[in-house]
Amino acid sequence: MHNISKIFPAVKKSESQDIFLPSDSSSSETIKAQKFTEEELPVDLNVEKNKFGEIRSQPLNNLQVRAIDSTAFNLGTVEDGVVGVVRISVIIKKPNESKHHCVKYGPNIFKVTNQDKNSIYQDKFQQVFGTKPPANSAPATYKMIDRIRNLAERYIILEEIKNSTNALILIDGSLISHPIDTPASYITQIIDESKNNNNIVAAISKETSLVLSQSGKGILSLCDFDTEPVYYGPINKFIQGDRSRYRGDVYVVKLTPNGEAFRIDIPPNSIIPPQEIFGLLSYTSGDYGYPDELKLAHMTSVHSSIEVIELQAAAVRNFNLRIQESIRKKLFPI
């Protein structure tokens, strides 16, 4: 178990009672801010001329699977900031065990204000990555919730890689670096630590901004006409523009016959060839060709509407808040 309390701003009551406008509990998570990690870049790839391979599902044997995902939720706003919550789930499937284990970190509630967002971001960034972020790189206050989620998830991913051996580590996302939220040194550390511990890392994205320059379609459309499990890539050298941030080898992969296509980033120096990694991933994939463990990690990290109501109550108590119904609700009750 990893100690993540240091990643979150400390919970403390403000001296004067603040007004709290709770969010609607029915929406379950904030949208992950993907645009900070990926830009819309063209990929100049001619499928006919470039190599691709078929995928053969292969059992995990002595490998354990560890899948990490996280969600954040904006619990509501205070006069000069936001109150948010983050939870990270790690799903573990041990070799020769049919049932999954789940370790949930959170929910962790925190408050970020316009006044303290920069100092919080500086501090927490340093805690996770060991370096300072660029000055004033904290985003708008309402985006801080997702940024803290990202920090917490990055921290857990690295800890899992450091503390596991012979594991297939599944990450929801990519191996792209960005100075604002994921320094290149962090991705390098992930790649290196994985190799040292005999771990295999696969970062799986359901969406991507990379676009095929010829057709203008997203790169996932490469698999549109494939009926069998298949992979394309690595496509890094076809990415037009600054591809230096793409620290892993980027593939477009369809893991199961009727599944969807995903972008999968694999460390370039992986301990086994990518084709075998995809075979392992295919083995763990269920409906829609997405690995079951990652699906479970997402499902168990999401905050239910019931939890959101409880968390809002906890926020009111812990931050000395007073609930005020939003003017919108008052004006438009139905």
């Binding site: 178990m1 949930k104 509630i109 239910s304 509407s305 968390l311």
Partner: protein, 481 residues
């Protein structure tokens, strides 16, 4: 607690897990008084889906590192309670500060936002219901352990019911002792030998009630202690009854018996010896005489007919006592005849121009279906009541009792029932709705629901307390000692 909604005569509330609410508790919402009849988990679609999501990973494989500051709040909504309450009425201001409970709801003055439903204590409820009990009572309320008692002045047509071994006979015996203490005479039709040892303690030594009990036992020939032989005096039955019981069916024999009764009934008493003597001297036809003498010998062998000075026995018990008629060993036809006889006795005993002049009496009928037909029961609950006779029916099968009883019932003391048929039948009394009655399924032994005059028509859940110094067990012999 918050009001969720009102539907018909039910008010549904929600309460947090730490609010101590129990079935039977009484809730005051503004002026509306309602009683908790069911407590469930509050379940919404999102709670269901949340639980389903949680069940994806077995609990033993799940580890949660929850922030310390919020750990006590997480999960509380899952255990939020949905409390169904039955509206019993509303409170109105009486004289002074006194609150009076009236049935129904005058105004719908509830607000889901502003109304704060609160549980009222049993003592507050008793004050509203104007119920006062002595300190040493025979029962306590299930919630709050408050003294509750059965005021003998409110004992009217009463049904004590519940499945076997639920505690109904125990309660009936406690009630009987209470009646004795209050100077009431009670006649008990005891089919299961339940009431015969109430005059002795756990060591079979006479207790303080001993002299207040007389047991009439058909199996003995001579008085012993407080037991006397149970016999049917011939003077107290008609010639037709006698002939029916002895199956005297030929007209010459019947004519002889009619004449015999006409001649002998002028006597203060007469018995089988007198009848036999009359036949010997007054029946000329030898065949008829022989046949009747044979019947009389059969009657003697039954040991059912004989003298019984019921007036004297009751005179000794009239200021607080019980006459137990042990009818379990009697043949059914004699039992049924005895019930008619009991009715006659009670009429005579309560006759204010008669010898005994009982002001009133109570009649315990245990498992009445075994000896009383509908006519008997209707007679008891209509005409006999005017003579001051208060019948108390004790049964484990309320479906055997006639509708007329349920239409007139004043008090129900019901113990555990599991069977819907029995519960529905109790509902015919009109004292309680079916959803409240269904709570009987949840009672423990010795716990009961009391409704009627005893509770001023407010359903109360009580447990019957243990009686010391009295042998309360029946005479059931166990298969294994």
């Amino acid at each position: 607690m918050k009001i969720l909604f009102k539907e018909s005569d039910e008010l549904l509330l929600t309460a947090s897990p730490d609010e101590k609410i129990r079935v039977g508790d009484v809730i005051l919402s503004e002026s509306v008084l309602s009683q908790v009849i069911e407590i469930k988990f509050l379940t919404t679609n999102s709670i269901e889906s949340y639980i389903l999501r949680k069940s994806l990973i077995p609990e033993e494989n799940n580890t949660e590192v929850v922030q310390q500051e919020i750990s006590d709040i997480m999960g509380t909504l899952l255990d939020q309670k949905l409390i169904t309450t039955k509206i019993r009425g509303h409170l109105e201001n009486g004289e002074g500060d006194k609150k009076i409970l009236k049935t129904g709801m005058n105004d719908f003055n509830l607000s889901r936002e502003k109304t704060i439903p609160k549980k009222i204590s049993i003592s507050e409820l008793f004050e509203i219901l104007e119920l006062k009990f002595p300190e040493s009572s025979i029962a306590k309320t299930i919630t709050e352990d408050m003294e509750f008692d059965f005021d003998p002045r409110k004992l009217e047509l009463t049904l004590i019911t519940g499945k076997k071994k639920s505690g109904k006979s125990y309660f009936a015996k406690r009630l009987l002792l209470k009646l004795i203490e209050n100077g009431v005479f009670t006649l008990v039709l005891d089919v299961n030998q339940e009431y015969q040892n109430l005059g002795v303690d756990e060591n079979n030594q006479p207790n303080q009630y001993f002299k207040h009990f007389t047991v009439l036992d058909p199996t003995i020939n001579n008085p012993k202690g407080n037991r006397q032989p149970l016999r049917i005096p011939l003077k107290e039955i008609s010639a037709e009854d006698f002939m029916n019981l002895l199956e005297i069916q030929t007209p010459p024999q019947q004519q002889a018996i009619f004449r015999c009764w006409r001649d002998l009934r002028g006597n203060e008493h007469f018995d089988l010896t007198d009848v036999e003597g009359w036949i010997a001297t007054h029946v000329d036809n030898e065949m008829v005489q022989i046949a009747l003498q044979s019947r009389i010998r059969y009657a003697n062998s039954l040991r059912v007919f004989g003298p019984l000075d019921i007036d004297s026995i009751v005179s000794n018990l009239k200021d607080g006592g019980a006459l137990i008629l042990s009818i379990g060993f009697l043949e059914n036809r004699f039992r049924k005849k005895l019930v008619r006889l009991v009715e006659n006795w009670l009429r005579r005993l309560t006759d204010q121009n008669g010898k005994v002049k009982l002001h009133a009496a109570c009649l315990f009928l245990e498992e009445a279906q075994m000896y009383a037909d509908t006519d008997n029961i209707v007679d008891l609950i209509t005409r006999m009541r005017h003579l001051g006779i208060t019948p108390v029916f004790i049964t484990n099968d309320p479906t055997t009792l006639p509708d007329e009883l349920f239409a007139n019932i004043d008090n129900i003391i019901s113990f555990l029932f599991k069977n819907e048929k029995d519960l529905n039948h109790l509902g015919r009394a009109g004292l309680l709705d079916n959803s409240t009655l269904s709570l009987l399924k949840t009672l423990e032994r010795q716990q009961c629901l009391v409704i009627g005059e005893f509770t001023n028509d407010f359903p109360l859940f009580v447990k019957i307390l243990k009686q010391d110094g009295v042998q309360m067990k029946g005479e059931t012999r166990k298969l294994i000692r």
